[in-house]
Subunit: 197 residues, 2 copies
């Protein structure tokens, strides 16, 4: 997937190394702290080398966003697969989302920032990301759990809600405890009140 060239050449796999360091850089310092030249230095290559893999700074940012979506999608997938019960699966999804935001606020920010002319690979990554919640919501819908009439819209509203909670956590405006409570509430709204008989 993605635009991997993959084969070790002069350096090995510069592109992957650059992305790793870039990820690390934004984790401590935000997007603004990204510098192509610094990445080059970190990787031990000349300042022009990154240009062979990323047309410009924005291309690197886009690649990071794509990586972010792939990462989040993988975690959501794993969480969904680990819980057969719909309610638990739903909760697990939400928790993964919030955890992602708490761990990597800058990356989440990138992923939900407007990009003019996003590359097709990014658009595809976003699509794959939506597929996870889409499947979960559709499963619930078929099992009779229908908070709204249209499951497509339920899914979109769910993504919006989770992204919103995640953003509040990522920006430090609510605590992890509050976020956990909001996940409870979201679950109540989307799959109904807990049935503790």
């Amino acid at each position: 997937m993605g635009t991997e060239t993959g084969r070790p050449f002069h350096h090995g796999n510069l592109r992957a190394v650059l992305l790793d360091h870039a990820h690390e850089a934004i984790r401590s310092g935000g997007v603004e702290a990204l510098s192509l030249r610094e990445l080059a230095r970190d990787a031990g290559v000349s300042h022009g080398a990154p240009r062979r893999h990323f047309r410009d700074r924005q291309a690197l940012v886009n690649a990071l966003a794509e990586r972010g979506f792939d990462l989040l999608t993988a975690r959501l997938d794993a969480a969904a697969g680990a819980h057969p019960d719909h309610r638990e699966r739903f909760r697990a999804l939400a928790e993964v989302f919030v955890d992602f935001a708490a761990t990597d606020p800058a990356l989440l920010d990138l992923m939900f920032t407007k990009t003019v002319d996003p590359p097709p690979s990014l658009t595809e990554a976003v699509h794959r990301f939506h597929e996870v919640s889409r499947r979960v919501v559709l499963d619930g819908h078929e099992a009779g759990i229908r908070p709204l009439a249209d499951p497509e819209r339920t899914q979109m509203l769910l993504v919006a809600t989770l992204q919103g909670i995640a953003t509040l956590v990522g920006t430090g405006r609510i605590s992890s405890e509050t976020a956990a409570a909001l996940i409870d509430d979201t679950t109540t709204l989307f799959v109904g009140p807990h049935d503790d008989r």
Copy 2:
């Protein structure tokens, strides 16, 4: 309000002019397109002048975020005041939010980006922003509209949801039409199904 000095001095009111131009700049080009020197040129002052009003680039960004919150708060207030009916008031709030995102995606992005060590004035602006939805939700709660047990959490979840929808609109991932539909759905979830007798 905020940190206005206000009195015309050498230039007039450089700070306000800089903020105006900055707002305009990010509207067409995002945060990355912000340049202190370009702002100075636009305002017809030397490149060092902005430094008297904003310690560094980040301070300008923070001031923009603050302005964004004040702007959004004012619009939300106006919308809330214009609708006595709870359901309509709720809808109006949501619509203002989404409209704001559609018009000013970069500003919304700023407002919900992590800031290390935000200035007190920004924190206060955020607080005032939360007050609007807080009051609306509490009013509804007292009128018996209680989607969740705790109104505080209802309010926070509402903000998260609206911010989420707004972000999806702002980033161009959903259309305005879809957003309108999601507002319907949000209203259904938070105020109950429409009662068309």
